[in-house]
Amino acid sequence: ELKVEQNPLFLSMQEGKNYTIYCNYSTTSDRLYWYRQDPGKSLESLFVLLSNGAVKQEGRLMASLDTKARLSTLHITAAVHDLSATYFCAVGSIYNNNDMRFGAGTRLTVKP
């Protein structure tokens, strides 16, 4: 069974600091997705990573994928308050194209 683990689950950081969120998964996969959720809202797609070594960047966020280590990272550079949200990673199963499993989410709070 495909399992996805994120850490940390809660992250409080000050503006201007850097930090990394980790996403580990249990079985072989080459498809990984990052989403953002604001409180009480739906999920917004951030990044789609489709190969080993894939790296994508948007503003202060950068995501990478290491399929051999079964690990993806979401790096935050010089955090700002607007980045406060919950971030989810999701992994696609190679055995079932229709299966997408989510991590528990990382609740990020950026303090001034």
């Binding site: 989403y35 739906s42 989810f88 194209n97 229709n98 997408m100 989510f102 989410g105 609740r107």
Partner: protein, 113 residues
Amino acid sequence: SQTIHQWPATLVQPVGSPLSLECTVEGTSNPNLYWYRQAAGRGLQLLFYSVGIGQISSEVPQNLSASRPQDRQFILSSKKLLLSDSGFYLCAWRAQGRDTEAFFGQGTRLTVV
């Protein structure tokens, strides 16, 4: 462009009452459709997915059911709600294929009282 509609946005229902949540997608054909549930402060639990009309896969045993009567319509139902059914329900769609991402509806916040 593709859009996904989910309603109602908020629902308060008594224990034992029925439930029907509806999700429709526009601008695409033959999408994969998903129902997820998110308990307060928790991650997403996959409830059902569908790859075509009348084709439903269930991920967890429970008192919920799903149906796909039309290509772009996905319905989540229950005959009798339990307190534990409270949560944030999200519908999502993906295009067919391995590399596509999921796009989510705005969600339904269900409170069972």
